[in-house]
């Protein structure tokens, strides 16, 4: 047997060889002399330890009683203080009940149970050569009796069957959800849909949007739609008003998308989709609190810092006959986090 497989030499006992030469490793000196504890030699100390252990168990009993009493005594009412009182007293009782048992048992073990370390031998994990030969024999006999080696046709079809049998399990998962189709590129916004306040759904007059103000906006009818949260996760919009001359480089393609400096941008971060809810009025920066992507409203919400790549999509808006803000159309590109087919 290869001795290198047999466990390290590092701690083995080594002694001077026959010629009296020193070995090249030190000898393990063996266990150091045992030190006795006070309670081992002094019966008084032992009695003391015994009392301490019993006291800890006693505390546990009191804790249990306290917890049960507290449960009925401090029933929470509609106030925060009463809930807190109930929580604290219950937990305190339970905590003492548990800690008493735990600390008592540990103290008992440490002071009163034997603390003589003992030694037992290890055996190498590897079986003996005989074990191995026997095991191999058994396996070989099994294989031979099954005939798996002699009948490749059986073996191969079995392997094929086993390889395939998991597939229905995967196919069965198909109905976990519908296919995406075009749902990620469409929102509730369409020509003439009014911009309304989030969450109450009141339409917004252009005149109400003063310089420097900011509105969280949802499309009209969102709250009544079939799946409001899903729609909101795509359609939520931020409306800000700024001096149109602040725009650094005017994009002719976006001519007429704003109403007198009232701009509407998707609220959903193009990184992984948190709401870009923080607006710094002086700098006209929009900040996403999740990973700090920063968008500059003076550059059509281009990303100027952080992990996001794409600008927040702009919603082209107009004003209707009654002076309310409305969408000119849906977004011109998909909103929110990137995905493969987005292009």
């Amino acid at each position: 047997m290869d001795t290198r497989e047999q466990g390290g030499a590092s701690s083995e006992l080594v002694t001077r060889d026959e010629d009296g030469n020193l070995p090249d490793r030190f000898e393990n000196p063996g266990p150091p002399p045992h030190r006795y504890r006070l309670a081992d030699t002094d019966p008084k100390a032992a009695k003391n330890a015994e009392r301490q252990v019993a006291a800890l168990f006693g505390i546990s009993i009191l804790g249990t009683i306290f917890a049960i009493v507290a449960y009925f005594l401090f029933t929470p009412e509609n106030t925060f203080a009463s809930i807190k009182l109930s929580n604290t007293t219950l937990g305190l009782g339970l905590g003492l009940a548990l800690l008493g048992i735990g600390l008592g048992a540990i103290h008992w073990a440490k002071t009163l149970m034997p603390d003589h370390e003992m030694t037992e031998m290890r055996h190498p994990m590897r079986g003996t050569d005989e074990d191995r030969t026997k095991a191999l024999e058994v396996l070989e006999t099994g294989a031979a009796e099954s005939g798996i080696g002699r009948r490749p046709l059986v073996r191969n079809t079995l392997l094929g069957a086993l390889a395939l049998v998991g597939l229905p399990g995967i196919v069965l998962l198909r109905d976990l959800g519908p296919l995406p189709k075009d749902s990620l590129t469409k929102t509730l916004w369409a020509k003439g849909v009014r911009l309304t306040r989030d969450p109450d759904g009141k339409p917004i007059k252009a005149a109400d949007v003063t310089r420097g103000s900011i509105f969280h906006v949802i499309p009209q009818g969102l709250n009544e739609s079939e799946r409001p949260l899903e729609e909101k996760a795509k359609a939520a919009v931020l409306v800000i008003r700024m001096d149109p001359n602040m725009i650094q480089e005017k994009d002719p393609a976006r001519e007429g998308w704003d109403v007198d400096g009232i701009f509407a941008y998707s609220l959903i971060c193009t990184h992984v989709g948190c709401p870009v809810a923080l607006y710094e009025q002086q700098t006209h920066h929009l900040l996403c609190p999740c990973h700090q992507s920063t968008y500059d409203a003076t550059q059509y919400c281009k990303v100027i810092f952080g992990p996001a790549k794409r600008a927040l999509p702009q919603l082209p808006i107009a004003i209707d006959d009654e002076g309310y803000l409305v969408a000119q159309s849906d977004f011109k590109e998909p909103v929110g986090p990137s995905f493969w087919e987005r292009g």
């Binding site: 047999q6 390290g8 000196p29 109930s86 003492l96 800690l99 540990i106 969280h216 939520a236 992984v272």
Partner: protein
């Protein structure tokens, strides 16, 4: 059954019943005197086990009241500020648990604290195993099981954290949705399958619920069983020390000492969790409100163990490209999937990497002192530094507001630290380890400084050293010196290239990286030589040894 031990007490009767049916006496005889080495660091894994049991108990209580549904309801209950607010059943039932069920808030908080402790203790336990080399042969499989347990722990924590369906947990799911959507080709489909359509859908909470209360705990339970079974079967490792060898186990027997300590410790962990749950509030979901895709507050951080992924997401620059009409978002893929995958891969592969480099095929039951394996220790510290910097990056907004610095500066600093920090930490740690080894060697050679300075006849000063006793010395000299492997030349004498030579060259490089810089442990002949030299010096001075200076130490 032997007639000589006919039971006549009640306990004896039960024992007899069990033994005659299960052969219990054989098991008790075999197991109860099994030895367990003792060291405080061996309790770390125990803490993980006990906090898991606390999670099972408190979690079962929660399931009695929690409603895993995203169906809409209108809240009416003890918490007035949210009265008449529309919300999911899940969120409403979490509020009910917190305010209307006596002990519900306690159990929620105990459950959450125990979750944090569970993952924290697993992590530190893993550090212990890593730095002491306990993962070496024959325990590589248990290291792999442990790594999977750590991953399952993250999954358990994240799925649980998502259940209450409050604003924070919903935003966490939103981020998961974004990460999944970034996967090339199939991302959108996976997201639609996971959420049963568009985010957030109405299925994710019930789905996560079954993952959280059945699937993951079941897997964890099974793997914990295997993990502990292996510890039992292979016997525990022990720290080096006098009397401890690679062929023995020195420790306390299962009965009574170890059982009393371990059992007691379970109650201590549970008790501390109960006190935390009663005094320190955690995840006060009523403050956040129900999930809604548009509001959010600044300073939103996930539970600590997810911070590193969140931080990595924050540090990445906006690397996203559109190629042939398809979008590839490396800004999300790298931090969200590639990096955690790579970290996990290295974690799981480490034992094999190391044994490949050392060429060591022996069993190891005596632990390494971390200083004696400088490169492993340094690599571990470098990994911890990397992880910590990423976790810190997830708090860059808090750092900015608390330190009054710009978030851009902090992010840039952390980007550089994440790249430069680990190699610097590696280098420093390795130096420290080598320094400590040198110090050990000196100590073993010359003994302890006594603070007594002596002048020889020639007028030389030296400090009197008190030699170590053999028990103290053993700790400093017991380890193997590991040297880089030597491989046969690439071409044999006939100039024929050896098969596998290229792979071997990589292996040799790795081995050199691991073991080139080393301090060899002291040998008995070196000690003897040093003693002889010493006596010689003293004889030359004709024993004119007198103390002249005392340092007062």
């Amino acid at each position: 059954m032997s007639q000589t031990t006919t039971p006549n007490t009640a306990a004896g009767g039960v024992a007899d019943f069990l033994d005659t049916r299960l052969g219990a006496s054989k098991a008790v005889r075999g197991l109860s005197r099994k030895l367990f080495p003792d060291h405080w660091s061996f309790m770390l894994g125990e803490i993980a086990l006990y906090s898991f049991i606390v999670l099972l108990l408190s979690g079962t209580f929660l399931t009695l009241f929690f409603v895993p549904s995203m169906g809409m309801t209108t809240y009416e209950g003890a918490y007035a500020p949210l009265n008449n607010v529309p919300m999911s059943e899940a969120y409403a039932s979490t509020l009910r648990l917190s305010f209307d069920i006596r002990g519900g808030l306690l159990m929620r908080q105990v459950h959450h604290w125990a979750a944090l402790l569970f993952i924290a203790s697993m992590t530190v336990h893993m550090f212990r195993v890593f730095f002491t080399g306990a993962f070496r042969k024959p325990r590589e499989l248990n290291w792999m099981i442990g790594s999977v347990l750590a991953l399952l722990g993250l999954g358990a924590g994240f799925s649980g954290y998502s259940l209450p369906d409050d604003l924070l947990s919903g935003n966490g799911l939103r981020i998961i949705d974004g990460v999944i959507k970034s996967i090339p080709v199939v991302g959108t489909y996976l997201s639609f399958f996971l959420f049963d359509g568009e985010f957030p859908g109405e299925s994710i909470i019930p789905r996560l619920y079954i993952v959280h209360v059945l699937l993951i705990p079941g897997l964890i339970l099974a793997l914990v069983g295997a993990h502990l079974g292996l510890v039992f079967w292979q016997k525990h490792t022990q720290y080096p020390g006098p009397g401890r060898t690679n062929q023995n186990v020195v420790g306390f027997p299962l009965l009574p000492v170890y059982a009393a300590k371990a059992g007691g410790f379970f109650f201590v962990v549970f008790g501390i969790m109960a006190l935390f749950g009663s005094f320190v509030s955690i995840n006060s979901v009523w403050n956040y409100g129900p999930y809604d895709p548009s509001p959010i507050s600044a300073g939103t951080q996930p539970d600590w163990y997810i911070l590193f992924i969140d931080g990595a997401l924050r540090l990445m620059p906006g690397w996203e490209w559109t190629v042939a009409g398809f979008t590839i978002s490396f800004n999300i893929l790298i931090p969200g999937l590639i990096l955690p995958g790579l970290m996990t891969g290295i974690l799981i592969a480490w034992p094999f990497l190391e044994s490949w480099a050392s060429g060591d095929r022996r069993e190891h039951h005596v632990l390494d002192r971390p200083r004696n394996v400088p490169v492993r220790t340094a690599a571990g510290v470098a990994a911890i530094v990397f992880y910590t910097v990423l976790a810190l990056a997830a708090t860059n907004d808090l750092l900015a507001t608390h330190l009054g610095l710009s978030i851009n500066d902090i992010t840039w600093t952390l980007r550089f630290t994440a790249i430069l920090g680990p190699p610097i930490a590696f280098w420093i740690t390795k130096r420290i380890c080598l320094g400590l080894q040198r110090h050990d060697r000196e100590l073993a050679l010359h003994g302890r400084e006594t603070g007594r300075i002596v002048r020889t006849a020639d007028g030389e000063y030296f400090e009197v050293h008190e030699p170590l006793n053999e028990y103290d010395r053993w700790l400093l000299v017991q380890h193997d010196a590991r040297r880089p492997i030597e491989l046969p030349p690439d071409v044999d004498e006939n100039g024929v290239a050896r098969p596998g030579a290229r792979k071997d060259r990589i292996r040799q490089k790795l081995s050199r990286w691991f073991y080139e810089d080393r301090i060899e442990p002291l040998t008995p002949s070196e000690l003897a030589a040093s003693h002889a030299e010493h006596e010689h010096a003293l004889e030359a001075g004709e024993g004119e040894e007198r103390p002249v200076v005392t340092t007062g130490r």
